[in-house]
Amino acid sequence: MTYELVEHNPAAAPIAREVDTYPEIVDPDAELVSRWQAGDASAFETLVRRHERPVFRLALRMLGNREEAEDVTQEALLSLHRHGRSFRGESRFSTFVYRVAANAALNRRRTLGRSRARERLLAERQTGGIDLPSSPRDPGDAAAGAQAQARVHEALQELPPDLRLAVVLYDIEGMPYGEIARVLEVPEGTVKSRIHRARNALRERLRSFVTQESEGVDS
């Protein structure tokens, strides 16, 4: 059967994902958070350094534009500083960070004129650098891959924000369902259905790449 062969394809291997055993999991940020809440500003700086990358990644996937994403990342981290002292450890701190970042990105998205976003997207595509990887994983197929990546990035932007957020958190950030449910404050069943709907919508939008990919996988 084809799907058995496919499962041995490393490209389609399941993403490394933490098992969702919260709240037994020890929060790696707990000590820093309590030091910060007790008034140690350097602890907050360490937290910023630790979380700026995932926040930026999420903002970029949500907004599709590096400049906006950088702006929203700064706003989200400031908002974290503003509201983080009231964090009481009901969830992991990283979940709280993602929630703040997701809200910041969704708010920015709402205020951003669609036409402006579209203009920028076009300009970026023309200059050929939607998001340049810090290190291409396989230089051999980098050129072919870049086109597909640009299209995937663009297709993500075409999804409704709630579907996009769910699929970004699951398939790109590798978060378990339970944690996504806490970030989005919706039931796990809703998370699963949003992920499935998002994947299906992407499948339709990425038709030519998907066919190529699945044939490559089949052969």
Binding site: A41, E45, H196, R203
Partner: protein
């Protein structure tokens, strides 16, 4: 089972989230249904494309810019919210209770007129109020400086008010606050230096923005 029911579960099937029975049902269906099998492969290919998106390069200087903006006073809690939150703290609750008790005592002893003149006029009621005030625990940020200064003046006197003068406490508050301001300014300069070194297109303008404000008033709250 209908095709639509099978297709609705294909993501969970891919993630191996289904029970043995549910999985077996889909396996059996896929044996015979080429359309659903193709859809599964396409879904798998979509997920694979998504997961191969490269890690974007992080723009330099984000963290530094955030810390600099915080040092300049952004990212503070709203004042009212902060006050509301602080009233829940035991020390503030104790202060509030002591204040209320003091006011009550003043009314009782009938010397309210004296107490409302200046704080140097040490009325019996004031003494009771001061004695009831809690001794400050650890030092805090600049917000706490005034309270700490006042409380430490009280603590050493343990209910005797003669050694406590608002002027002395204010001096202590000022020196503590000045030291904190100097430290914070040095920190801002350091962030500005880092931003210049980060090489980000915006870093130069950000850094000059911070450097142009060396005299930011960090402790704008003055004791009355």
């Amino acid at each position: 089972m209908k095709h639509s029911q099978i297709r609705a579960q294909l993501s969970e099937y891919l993630e191996r989230d289904l029970s043995g029975e549910g999985r077996a049902r889909i396996d059996a269906h896929l044996e015979d249904c080429l359309d659903c099998d193709r859809e599964l492969n396409e879904l798998r290919a979509t997920v694979s494309l998504l997961r191969r998106l490269p890690e974007p390069a992080l723009p330099p200087g984000i963290g530094t810019a955030v810390m600099a903006r915080i040092a300049l006073g952004e990212g503070r809690e709203a004042r009212v919210h902060s006050l509301l939150r602080r009233t829940a703290e035991p020390r503030f609750a104790a202060l509030l209770a002591a204040g209320l008790a003091g006011v009550f005592f003043l009314f009782q002893s009938g010397d309210i007129g004296l107490a409302t003149q200046t704080s140097r006029a040490v009325a019996p009621g004031t003494r009771a109020l001061v004695a009831a005030m809690p001794i400050a625990a650890e030092g805090g940020g600049s917000e706490d400086a005034w309270l700490n200064a006042r409380d430490s003046g009280l603590g050493s006197q343990a209910g005797v008010t003669s050694g406590f003068t608002p002027a002395a406490a204010y001096q202590q508050y000022r020196s503590q606050t000045r030291r904190q301001e100097a430290e914070r300014r040095a920190q801002i300069q350091e962030y500005a230096r880092q931003l210049r070194g980060a090489g980000h297109p915006n870093s130069a303008s950000l850094a000059s923005h911070f450097e142009a404000r060396p005299n930011v008033v960090l402790a704008d709250w003055q004791p009355r």
